[in-house]
Symmetry: D2
Subunit: 370 residues, 4 copies
């Protein structure tokens, strides 16, 4: 099954029904992606009257905590009561008529919750890595254990990789959208137009040198997220072993020998820049490359293609849900450097999740994201 | 003339006419405040169909530059033409039916343009320091020279200090709003409720220790804005001599002996935190202080008052148009520390300018700012 | 007992015996202060042939860890074996003939170890807060519990506050030197010359607004040391309640009403800047103030006094063991702003500890520190 | 002429004469490299009594400026007069008996001064790019114009590329040492051992993705060194066109097709990390690669080779004169990632210059650098 192949096919399915509004809930609201998701949903023009439900730990006591207590920066000060964070329960979701459930939870928990959610008729947008990978060899990196493996496999087979630029039509009708990884999004969006066009010498090997801000490492305090470790520093990690690699292979249709990805920890709060090195099969000119990128993204409002030689940089995408893509071609017309940038918490997580919701509801794809 | 005294008076004037929309223009779009102003106006819900005019240098050639060329981070990628930056001319403003003109220009230029603008029937929101000070002794710091001093003095007398929390009613009817300084906003908003309530021992002296991010120093490259100077550093400057001092004196009704203000350059892009030390005339308890602050700002959506002991911090106001205010009271009930935070480019500049526009147009004060 | 009063008295004691070299050991080598101490000692010109002993946890297994494994940045690559970290034991210290023991441990542990160390004839330089405070009311903040309270009290009575600029002669002969806190050092050194000279209106109250880099919060990962919390942020904390306050009171001979200290967490790795506000009893001129500072520090190589109006800044002291002090006087000749800067890990911890060792051994005070 | 080939040859020349001390001068002391050079020389154990001469602009008036005025962070506060900065003149150098002249000047000025200096019998260590490149095609990037091209060409032919790890013996006897570029040093030192060993598949192409702190861009304020541009950002630049490329080609004996270098601007003050991607001709194991690196640098104190999988990071080299080199080998034994780190102002500039001085004087190579 190739999700990638679906991109240019005619619309097979549509948003189940274009909606004027939708009832949403978010499970996992304490982390950075949760904060951004809460902020985006609380300001989304189509959700005005149907406030999202924010869900805490299952089995926790309701203790009056509000989403503004957790994330004071998003407090609206509009005189209305602060949205509460309520303990997770399927009952609460049913009572509220929730239609779309966002999961910003560890992948083990997602693997446990998703079967229940789908059985309850919810559509799910999952921000973890739990459902992104279709080939067991790739998914093995997550060491998943399912109580009902056959059911999990069936769900997995129907899960759609949540890259609207590649799988718009499938997302529109999907019940389970596996929101992509942040690194993967930056690399896949830069490479897909050229790889699909067949102009890349994939046998030569593609090098992806990626750099991410510290929020990508999550909110749990650790030696590596300590200010003293991250600040004024740069370090490479997980060389030849980062778990986003499987997404690159599956979405780009490449083998492990054909693409190599090295992440680095940047001393900035948020933002990813990927510098991607490849060789073209045949000499090309810059105009043709730019055209290939532009036409691929002609209908994609959340990708901004740059002119040849005008390389994107992190500061222009931070706090936006855009992915910016640019390139520089060597005088030989064969060696190409692609640079792609995004905010790992937005286009790399919560912004893309909202973009997926927009597609699933038949709304304008950029709704609430500009 | 005490603008300060106007705060609690009955509504003397109203927005000249509540408007469904308004035609705006911005002169001075290359700097950081200009970028934020452009972003806010381009997303303002009441300006949807009446795109603001962005004005470059008077006498410049139209060269096709757009606001997105200057500030790629705000490019909407919505398929519509990028808003052009056109040379400044009064003709352009008239042809476009401009009603409100934002000036984000050096104070000398503001001093030159404002008389023309008012004569042309425009309402002006000026972000420079040119028109903020009413007492010549205070204004002297700007070394202003006017071609028609009498006219300038008359205009100055009518100018309203653009702090909606203090001068809401006057702003509603004003033709010239002098948008406050960034440091001044953080200090005035923290002190005004208590100083006005007469509970501060002003003779003892108030100490304002303020810290600002580098964007406050402007976009022109200089030794002090060099990354190598600002990063991993902290420095005090302009001790006993910062030009925002006059705003504190006039707005709080204090003398030079009664308040002391020391700015520091923080190694962050944006944000101001002011730590303010004062003595109360008589012992108070924390609840009373909190009440005083809360009731003063009961109708002010852009000020968030914190509970006693819950001090605001910069990261919760950056990229918002809020001013957050908190405090800690000594066990003696007399020594009080106020902490106030804002984003110097938003509540300290462009966010407050848009707030003023909202007030001038009779719109919800927080429109386009949440 | 006033340690402060001892400053200008004739030399009562001397370094017990001027030494050509000394055998040292460091307990507590995993933290930031430990790393700096190890670096300084490994490069100290008087310790060339007598390598310090680095001590890990008591009762730990020797596992071959070296000081370079813990702190790769100080690895000399000189072909010699890396200095091992050995488990703490009194036996090891005796066998190695250790004369001076540095303790960079939590204060509880220091309180436990110091009686043993002194009984074993060691001289101790303690970097914790355990022995700095002489008045029980001040020391209460550390909640100390001693197995032999009478012995602890006797030791405390003999402990010398390790500020060489104030207590040089006592340190020379001391068996237990309580190395000062980082904030306290920056404030005490700025204020001592003027407070001692009796020119400060202490009844008016002194305000100390201090800002420290993140290393001051220690190496243990926590919510507040997370990069995402500290970066691009500024926050005040422990207003009216920081435990360094007692050092200010005792060393400056002030009461709680007379001095007020507010620390802030700066988004930089290291460095403290204190902005100190006070009133002079009588009008003074800048030259007299500068003279007072300069003559107080005439024999103190690790304090650099700045000219009037030339304020110190953090970047000039980071990675040095200097405290830089400057000031600005109001035109009224009465309101004074002092600014003092140091590196919290050096002059605020390990550099000052080595300075104390130099004094204790009768060496040049700046030996190994320039 | 292959400087590279000289590495393992028997000692052809020696330091002209092992010296107990040497008289030095530095021209170009205002920039970051100048500051570090001044600091290193003022603390160098072999220069104790022969203070370096610091030279300002030729033809300037002597105005009493000292090196401590320019760089307060290096002021020793040792009671001795601050070293003056005197106008550049050949007379001054002769009168002081200068033997080694450091030039930290723009390359045009170096090209003008060096012929005079050599004619005056001085030995020169030049930190600019003026004399690094031997092939005119590579040197063309500097657009050099010489008043006496034949003389310049003759000097160029004798200039030694100042990488002690590669050219130790030639440097020992050299009159003109061209101190390498910062990026080049990080890349050349990582690659030289393997490229020389002939194990790299150079036809496949080597990718060097380098990231540098802002000090690499120099002290002149500019749009790109503005804090607001550099902070919280990352940008690639000079793709396919950085002028350090020529050094890579000449020192590694590669062609333009065989190596590709992309620099990035990191939001940190100092430090370079290069991530280098290559393929080995034949499968190798990690132990062999580590051995190759270690034996190549067995006599090189300023290179620290890491164990396989233990990748270096910037924070461990900043403020040191080391280059740290590590690697990770793919399971296929053919794809290799090298990571190398250094401080661009030290091993990438002034530290390496002092290392060259040590070699030229027959001193221990790490003298004054640990």
């Amino acid at each position: 099954m190739s999700h990638f192949a679906a991109v240019s096919e005619p619309l097979a399915t549509l948003a189940k029904q274009p909606k004027s509004h939708v009832r949403t809930a978010v499970a996992g609201v304490t982390g950075y992606a949760g904060a951004e998701l809460a902020r985006l949903l609380l300001h989304h023009p189509r959700l005005g009257d149907t406030q999202p439900i924010f869900l805490g730990r299952m089995g926790a006591e309701a203790d009056g905590t509000t989403i503004y207590d957790l994330h004071p920066q998003i407090a609206k000060n509009d005189g209305k009561p602060a949205p509460p964070v309520v303990p997770f329960s399927w009952e609460t979701l049913r009572e509220n008529g929730t239609e779309i459930l966002f999961l910003a939870l560890p992948h083990e928990q997602s693997r446990e919750y998703v079967p229940h959610a789908l059985a309850a008729g919810l559509r799910v947008i999952d921000l973890s890595g739990a459902w992104r990978l279709h080939h067991p060899a790739n998914a093995a990196v997550y060491k998943l254990t399912d109580s009902d493996p056959a059911l999990a496999a069936a769900i997995q087979a129907e899960a759609v990789f949540g890259s609207p630029e590649l799988h718009r039509d499938e997302i529109a009708g999907a019940d389970l959208v596996a929101n992509p990884g942040c690194y993967s999004t930056s690399i896949i969006l830069a490479l897909a137009p050229l790889v699909r066009a067949g102009v890349v010498d994939v046998e030569h090997g593609i090098i992806c040198d990626s750099k991410s801000g510290v929020s990508g490492a999550g909110k749990a305090p650790s030696a590596k997220t300590h200010y003293m470790y991250a600040a004024d520093n740069l370090s490479a990690y997980a060389v030849f072993g980062h778990r986003h690699t499987g997404e690159l292979l599956e979405q780009l249709g490449l083998t492990n020998d054909q693409i190599q990805f090295t992440p680095h920890l940047l001393p900035i709060p948020r933002g990813i820049l990927s510098t991607i090195y490849l060789r073209l099969r045949d000499g090309m000119d810059a105009a043709t490359i730019e055209d290939t990128l532009r036409s691929f993204y002609a209908r994609s409002p959340m990708v901004r293609v740059h002119r040849s030689g005008d390389l994107p940089q992190i500061q222009n995408v931070v706090r936006t849900s855009f992915c910016d893509i640019g390139f520089e071609l060597a005088p030989d017309g064969k060696r190409l450097v692609l640079v792609s940038c995004l905010d790992n918490l937005l286009k790399g997580a919560s912004g893309q999740a909202v973009q997926n919701m927009n597609v699933m509801c038949g709304w304008k794809e950029s709704e609430g994201l500009l």
